[in-house]
């Protein structure tokens, strides 16, 4: 396991610990630069995910020790630039300015220096105390690149640490450099100065002089503020408006007017152009590259993977293979876990007094145990998603689907949150922030709950095993497919409701890479532990509540129609009559499933209190369900409502309760119609 190595290294680091300094470092870098791997190498399992204040963008933090220092590591969002266009870029920028980390470690992909250094240059212009972690040195030398690390460091005036993060090489050196640089007194804000050309420099100088009179210049380097003014950076403009610095804003307008008379329309791009110019000049000095082959092997692979005819069939084949793999591997594991809980439940039922035995055996073990049985498929699903992301395939899937997505008024980028939704809708909804057009983003958020998340997997797995033993993989795969198709359908409806221009599809395609076991396992654990956490909190709570409702009023037979839960179920159940599953047990499990989708299975587990054998067969025999009814139920459970947590995230991301309300409304309607259609048409066709 990849974990082991990290732990060993972690220990070595820990041995050197004493009571020393606290250092905060921030990791910055482009997406796909290996930033997450560096973060994992530094912190191992000592990390936690929270939110950035005010926004729901995930904030990963971790701690590591080196020498007598305790180093807090903050993982900034992966960005290409530090403009105000996206939340991610703003977060990265504001963290560096406002929290003033002791060191910013900029992870730079050595195989893609030109693009990566664009961020580096901007970080330096901001006056951040920087260390460059030059990552993927192995790939660079495989390609025949010869990088003069010393020269790079000399030209930029910052330390450069070559590393191969995927093999945990260079981590020690990086830590050493961090501690060193913190030890030396900072040579106050030694910002990199890019020569923007005589005309632009003239304007920068004027603005810089004015800006340095304002309070803002205490926080930001004045030259940087001047450049941002010329770039018409929205956030910086707003800050000056708040300061009532009319004269500065007017000076900016005059400057731009003057530059426009010199450069024409290109004035918008002149600053970016000069930065790239600086980088090209630098690269000539520090890197020797063999003549690039016309097509890399990654390009050759793309010829097949994203080709017009094979792209979509290949995507479907890959998804199908993923599900087959998950089922083949998790089947036996689940049987063991299930057998373990059955054994435990049996023991628990012997506990006296009888009610306590029933609470533990029927309620907690029956309910929570049933949910925990699904650890293997859920964890494997997260692992599979991590492999798709880390290998570079996810970006290709977005590329392949772009054409189809355009037909429904979205573009390829919206497809990535859809696939992430297969794991959990919450991070998937957060991932929509890379979509710049607000309307595209809203639609992508609204359809996301239709993507079948990992918490719904237990429902399908349970019912598919009981009712479709020969075609489990296919039946479950069909659920995901129904989700995708309906999401596409709903997107085109929403697009009609909220008309407007479609945003632009621009996306870097990282080269294909072999995912590392460590990266995949850490990702799986990080996502999967939420599932365990839920099982220990919400699900235990609901299950105990269900047990209580099943046991009351006093003296009633456990989970009989006359128990309180039975009475509640009988009120709701008629609604589901036309869909085939008008049983009160089904009704209450769906009712509580609103809290979290795992609860559907957990509730059934608690109600049926299966002592031996499996829950699926109990449902078949006690409710008399046919495969058709089971399928209709699965369709309903797939579609009906986002869970409470997903609703909260929709609210947070859209800033209004209108949108989660809309999501619940349309999903309930859609679920009922679809389940009823499945059942009624199926009956007409003679499927039971």
């Amino acid at each position: 396991m990849g974990e082991k190595k990290g732990k060993r290294k972690g220990k070595e680091r820990e041995q050197k610990k004493g009571q020393g300094k606290e250092i905060t470092i921030a990791l910055a870098g482009n997406p796909n630069s290996g930033k997450t791997t560096v973060f994992n190498n530094l912190t191992g399992a000592h990390q936690h995910v929270g939110n950035w204040p005010g926004v729901t963008v995930e904030k990963k933090e971790g701690v590591c020790r080196y020498g007598d220092c305790r180093i807090k590591v903050v993982d900034l969002p992966g960005v290409y630039s530090l403009t105000a266009y996206s939340i991610d870029e703003l977060i990265a920028r504001n963290f560096i300015v406002e929290e003033e980390p002791d060191v910013v470690v900029d992870i730079v992909d050595a195989t893609n220096l030109e693009r990566n250094l664009y961020l580096t240059v901007q970080l330096l212009e901001m006056g951040a105390r920087l260390i460059i972690a030059l990552n993927m040195m192995d790939e660079a030398s495989e390609r025949g690149y010869r990088i003069d690390v010393k020269h790079l460091s000399y030209h930029l005036g910052v330390p450069v640490v070559p590393m191969v993060a995927s093999r945990d090489q260079g981590t020690e050196e990086l830590l050493e450099e961090i501690v060193n640089i913190v030890g030396t007194e900072s040579t106050s804000a030694n910002c990199l100065k890019i020569d923007y050309g005589r005309e632009v420099e003239g304007e920068i100088e004027k603005l810089e002089r004015m800006v340095s009179q304002t309070a803002l210049s205490r926080k930001y380097p004045p030259r940087w503020l001047a450049v941002k003014l010329l770039e018409e950076d929205e956030e910086i403009l707003k800050k000056f408006e708040e300061l009532d610095s009319e004269e500065i804003l007017q000076a900016k307008d005059r400057a731009l007017e003057h530059l426009r008379s010199v450069y024409g329309d290109d004035v918008e791009t002149i600053i970016a152009d000069r930065r790239y110019g600086f980088i090209s000049g630098l690269l000539k000095d520090i890197i020797k590259r063999p003549p690039t082959p016309r097509l890399t092997w990654s390009d050759k692979l793309d010829k097949v993977i994203v080709s017009r005819w094979l792209g979509i069939p290949l995507f479907l084949a890959i998804m199908f293979a993923v599900f087959q793999f998950i089922f083949a591997l998790s089947g036996p594991l689940m049987e063991w876990i299930s057998a373990g809980f059955d054994w435990l439940a049996e023991r628990a039922m012997g506990i006296s007094p009888e009610w306590l035995g029933s609470l533990i055996g029927n309620g907690i073990i029956g309910g929570v145990g049933t949910v925990l049985t699904f650890i293997p498929p859920i964890f494997l699903l997260f692992a599979a998603i991590a492999v798709l992301e880390d290998s570079g395939y996810m970006a290709r899937a977005a590329f392949v689907m772009d054409r189809l997505m355009h037909k429904i008024g979205l573009h390829g980028r919206s497809f990535i949150p859809m696939i992430l939704g297969f794991g959990c809708n919450i991070p998937a909804i957060m991932a929509t922030r890379t979509i710049e057009n607000p309307r595209d983003r809203l639609i992508t958020i609204l359809i996301n709950p239709l993507m079948s998340c990992g918490a719904r997997l237990p429902i399908y797995t349970l019912l598919a095993a009981a009712f479709f033993p020969a075609h489990q993989g296919l039946v479950v795969f069909s659920m995901y497919l129904i989700g995708i198709i309906l999401a596409i359908l709903m997107a085109s409806i929403f697009r009609r409701l909220f008309p407007g221009p479609v945003g632009h599809f621009v996306m870097e395609l990282p080269p294909y890479r072999l995912p590392t076991a460590r990266g995949v396992l850490l990702h799986m654990w990080e996502r999967g532990k939420h599932f365990l956490w839920k099982a220990g909190t919400i699900i235990v709570g609901v299950v105990v509540f269900v047990w209580l409702l099943s046991s009351l009023p006093w003296g009633v037979e456990y989970a009989s129609p006359d128990s309180w839960i039975g009475q509640l179920g009988r009120i709701i159940a008629p609604v589901f009559g036309p869909s085939g599953f008008g049983d009160w047990q089904a009704a209450v499990s769906l009712f509580f499933g609103f809290l979290a989708k795992e609860v559907v299975v957990g509730t059934m587990g608690a109600i049926f209190a299966v002592e031996e054998g499996n829950l699926g067969t109990a449902i078949a025999s006690q409710l008399g369900w046919t495969p058709l009814i089971a399928y209709a139920f699965m369709v309903f459970a797939l579609l009906y409502v986002p869970c409470v947590a997903a609703m909260a995230v929709i609210k947070a991301e859209t800033g209004s309760w209108r949108w989660p309300a809309l999501a619940i409304g349309y999903e309930l309607t859609l679920a009922w119609i679809m389940a009823t259609l499945v059942y009624q048409i199926g009956r007409l066709l003679g499927f039971g």
Partner: protein, 76 residues
């Protein structure tokens, strides 16, 4: 001609982008600014295209590619 018409393998120079200020700046940040040379890696109607830009591969929607004006330099 628009980038969308360039054939796979062709090396072209970006001449102009027919878009608003915001988008132009955004693209410039990605390294797409007038004068830069790029190579078409993949272009199949009616889907998006892939270009080699400053050493990396960038996917562009076809609509986007229609707004980017280029001059053929060589290749193909």
């Amino acid at each position: 001609m628009p980038l969308s018409m360039a054939r796979p393998g062709e090396v072209v120079t970006l001449v102009a982008i027919n878009a608003g200020f915001g988008l132009k700046r955004r693209l410039a940040d990605m390294g797409l600014n007038p004068g830069v040379s790029l190579r078409v890696i993949h272009s199949q109607l009616p889907g998006p295209i892939i270009i080699e830009l400053r050493g990396s591969r960038v996917a562009l929607g076809r609509g986007m590619a229609q707004k980017i004006m280029v001059m053929v330099k060589g290749g193909a």
